[in-house]
């Protein structure tokens, strides 16, 4: 089974086969033997060459990696290898139909126009709303002040526009990604 995986900003074709603890992975043509064990939430991977180093008895020495994987919003995976974060997203199983779909998505993925939602970058409390409906704003202008963990953070407009809606009031508690201001 082959996946298209983007890791560290680069796409790789990853083929996985196996069962139990023993797997074989082929990454962009390079083959590995994997010994996979799970310890609580941690995966221990011993990664060795696909062919045994000694044949009788077969010996597969492997480099030891500790991996944790969590699901994030938007289909991204939070992967840590040896406690270092690696941004990873799976683009799905490869195959002709999957590729057709991907191409279609690329074609329609133009830059968005029209209304733009300015969202809270983190959960917090609204300290101050700095704009009113109808105001013209320039790029990087502060629109809302959000306080979290005793520090005030100014949320800025990513581009110029006119304020079409103010969705929060002073003192309100907001979750991350709550829409604060709509500009057009």
């Amino acid at each position: 089974m082959t996946f298209e995986v983007e890791a560290g900003g680069r796409r790789r074709a990853v083929e996985i086969a196996g069962a139990g603890r023993a797997y074989r992975a082929v990454v962009d043509g390079r083959a590995y033997a994997l010994d996979v064990a799970r310890v609580g939430d941690v995966w221990s991977l011993l990664v060795g060459s696909a062919e045994p180093v000694l044949s009788s008895p077969p010996l597969h020495p492997g480099r030891s990696y500790e991996v944790t994987i969590g699901e994030q919003a938007g289909g991204e995976l939070a992967v840590y290898v040896n406690r270092r974060a690696v941004p990873v997203s799976i683009h799905g199983l490869t195959g002709p139909r999957a590729q057709r779909r991907a191409t279609r998505a690329d074609r329609t993925g133009e830059a968005p126009s029209g209304p733009l939602n300015i969202v809270a970058p983190m959960p917090g409390r609204i300290v101050k709303v700095l704009v009113n409906e109808g105001d013209a704003v320039v790029a990087r202008q502060g629109v809302v002040v959000v306080e979290a963990m005793k520090m005030e953070n100014e949320v800025r407009a990513p581009r110029a526009g006119t304020v079409k809606g103010v969705r929060v009031t002073q003192g309100a508690l907001v979750e991350a990604r709550t829409v604060l201001i709509v500009i057009e």
Binding site: F3, V14, A19, Y23, W43, T68, V86, I90, R101, L173
Partner: protein, 514 residues
């Protein structure tokens, strides 16, 4: 224990070490926090917002009286430097484990403290001598700013920890900075009063820990170097300071002790100085409480400062050898691990800690209030842990710290661990040629590249692990086999590894396959 987080855990441990019981208090969102579960008893004090719980003097006193506590430890932050709290404890017949209300009031007012330092013969940074309250007009402050000179700092009179502090480089920025500083000061300390101070060029931040007992003894400790700051918040501290010679140490600790003696200071306190390149130092302020970075002093002196706070409050005289306090054994360094995303401009990253691997081994100490499964709430300081390392010399302490940072893993939220791994590799840090603006300048030179750069093989393993995760945890069987058997083989904990999110992911992938 009138506080929360790692410092509440630290104080509970000191009590245990002394055979004492400890009562925790908690706000609504802290019900499951570590300090509550560790304590002998715990008492709810109100809603999550600090003003309705950890800053409520009346509720804290009620909790102490209701549980039969003899003494109150304020920790740091919240009410630790609030003289009415110390006075209220005394009035209720409770021993306040800290300085007197009078000392807090005097040294807690940054402007009064400056006058006390001058009276004790210690130089202070040039600045405005009288505080400006909330009603003071901008024009009066502007006039004072001109005589102090730019660049200057606006500071909260009741301040500490960089809260309510702003750098102003030009007169035009003064009004907005005054507004921001007052608002932050009011939120953090309940007091919007501010004052101005000239900003020295490239000074170091060096501070002296003190203990004073109820019998007039004041004992200074070897200095701490806290110049690695981001926006006036200390992020790395070490002791001794690489910039302080034994002669300068004698001078600066004597000056610190003189200021403390002149105000009859008792309990633990810290006098902060700015040190210029030529060796001149200026009194900055006094923190009338236990300091966040106290563990590194404990590591190089072998003195348990929290236990001594309690012993002093009980009336015991200090019997620590002054040479033990002043001559450091080796070197110690501390990194403050914050729930912030360094790759997003150090944006707060509150939330649930999904996984936590804490480093250990030789000469590593982790002071933390966090545990897997607990939340880092939005309401409080983002400090989740203080990681300290000791070595026979600075180089060994740094090497151990790097090793420990490599072992640290916090899942579910972002932390400053990747930043510290990067920071400790910086040549200026290794050579100790830094000053208080060094880190902010260094961060400004960065162009948004991530702090963490996984190696090529780690990226490849991440890709393999993601594919494996999809195959195993989500249940897509490779080679047409039933995934259930593989899952059973792997899931030793007996938990079903296929969660709702897993099925959603499967559905998405199947959708992609068409």
């Amino acid at each position: 224990m009138a506080n929360r987080g790692e410092i509440a855990v630290r104080v509970i441990r000191a009590c245990r070490d002394m055979g004492m019981a400890c009562v925790a208090v908690y706000s609504e969102c802290d019900r499951t926090a570590r300090h509550v579960r560790m304590a002998d008893e715990a008492c709810a004090i109100g809603p999550s917002a600090p003003l309705e719980s950890y800053l409520r003097v009346d509720r804290l006193i009620d909790a102490a009286l209701a549980t039969g506590a003899d003494a109150v430890h304020p920790g740091y932050g919240f009410l630790a430097e609030n003289e009415s709290f110390a006075a209220a404890c005394r009035a209720a017949g409770l021993t306040f484990i800290g300085p007197t209300a009078e000392a807090i009031s005097l040294m807690g007012s940054k402007t009064a403290a400056r006058r006390a330092a001058i009276a004790a013969g210690v130089s202070v940074v040039p600045g405005s001598d009288a505080p400006f309250d909330a009603n003071q007009s901008d024009s009066v402050i502007e006039a004072a700013a001109v005589s102090v000179g730019y660049p200057l700092l606006i500071k909260a009179v009741a301040g500490g920890g960089g809260k309510g502090m702003r750098v102003v480089t030009a007169a035009g920025d003064l009004p907005s900075s005054i507004r921001a500083a007052r608002s932050e000061a009011r939120a953090a300390f309940g007091d919007p009063a501010i004052y101005l101070e000239r900003r020295l060029v490239r000074p170091r931040h060096v501070e002296v820990q003190l203990l004073g007992d109820l019998h007039g003894n004041v004992l200074p400790f070897v200095e701490r170097e806290c110049s690695i700051q981001r926006r006036h918040q200390k992020v790395i501290e070490e002791t001794p300071s690489p910039a302080v010679s034994p002669a300068l140490r004698a001078e600066i600790t004597t000056a610190a002790a003189a200021v403390a003696r002149s105000v009859g200071y008792t309990s633990a306190g810290t006098i902060e100085f700015l040190l210029e390149e030529d060796g001149r130092f200026y009194f900055l302020e006094m923190n009338t409480r236990l300091q966040v970075e106290h563990p590194i002093t404990e590591m190089v002196t072998g003195v348990d400062l929290v236990q001594w706070q309690i012993r002093i409050a009980q009336g015991e005289p200090l019997d620590i050898d002054p040479q033990q306090a002043l001559a450091p054994n080796g070197h110690a360094i501390e990194c403050r691990i914050y729930a912030e995303d360094p790759d997003a401009g150090f944006m707060p990253s509150p939330g649930r800690i999904a996984a936590l691997d804490v480093p250990g081994g030789p000469w590593i100490r982790d002071d933390s209030g966090a545990e897997p499964g607990t939340d880092v709430p939005i309401f409080y300081d983002p400090l989740i842990s203080k990681l300290s390392a000791w070595g026979a010399d600075r180089q060994q302490a740094l090497t151990r710290m790097k090793r420990a940072l490599g072992e640290y893993h916090v899942g579910g939220i972002r932390t400053t661990v990747p930043f510290f791994r990067w920071m400790l590799e910086q040549p200026a840090f290794e050579n100790a040629t830094f000053h208080t603006a060094y880190l902010d300048e260094l961060l400004q030179q960065r162009r948004g590249e991530p702090f963490e750069n996984p190696r090529e093989d780690e990226e490849e393993i991440a890709a393999v692990a993601a594919a494996l995760h999809t195959v195993i945890a989500v249940g897509i069987a490779p080679s047409g086999r039933s995934a259930a058997r593989d899952v059973a083989a792997l899931s030793e904990a007996g938990r079903p590894p296929v969660g709702r999110a897993g099925w959603k992911r499967l559905a998405r992938l199947e959708g992609l396959r068409g």
